[in-house]
Symmetry: C2
Subunit: 106 residues, 2 copies
DNA sequence: ATATGATACATTGAAATACAAGGTATGTCA
DNA sequence: TGACATACCTTGTATTTCAATGTATCATAT
């Protein structure tokens, strides 16, 4: 379970957010902060590399839009991204079930 | 969520196993392999550093026992270890709930 | 007018985590 | 005798994440 297997749960969160609507980086961060009130926070240094990676994989496309003088970079989930979301979601379910299985023994 | 916060779930598994009975390293690995049939595997390079860390924290104590010529190193969960288990278990629950919260939105 | 804080992007260096690959040594069984 | 399971362990590397930092614009209050 090197890296990818055990984690990669952060990109799952990003993909999941984008499955509802196109979003820009800062919006993802503040949405999660609001939704997950102090459970954990998604940081810029984590998010932007993930977005770049997802884009290079073709899982998200991206376009800029000016809103009241500020340029926002919106990300959009592609068909490929939707498949990836489904995969990662299933991986997460398996992972969580596995941990809970062990915990239930004690 | 740097390292500790998001993961550290592996030590939770180890603590959980030890809460049922004293175990030796190889036994933990094979028990998990058997229990979690191909979901993931706990590897030596992961386990032994964790055991050393838990021991240095006083969460586990350790004794050797010879069984049919082979020396096994058993680990025992201390009171401190039980407290740590409770903490990590709660952390895991919060973490899993948080992820599921985001997933349910999509 | 200007300072402060929120919005919005991004990078860099360091720490934590996990594993692959390797090593040692003994018991068991064909 | 050789192969495989048991049992311990370490080293080097890849991955993931964050803290810290930087840039720039807008809104608001002073």
């Amino acid at each position: 379970m090197r890296g990818k297997q055990s984690l990669a749960h952060t990109s799952l969160l990003v993909l999941s957010l984008l499955s509802r609507q196109d979003m820009y980086g800062y919006q993802m961060i503040s949405t999660l902060e609001q939704k997950l009130d102090r459970t954990f926070a998604l940081k810029e240094g984590t998010l932007y590399p993930i977005l770049r990676e997802l884009e290079s994989q073709g899982a998200v496309s991206c376009y800029e839009q000016e809103v009241s003088g500020r340029v926002r970079k919106y990300y959009h989930l592609t068909r490929k991204g939707k498949r990836l979301l489904a995969e990662e979601r299933e991986q997460w379910d398996r992972y969580a079930r596995a941990i809970n299985t062990v915990l239930e023994l004690s």
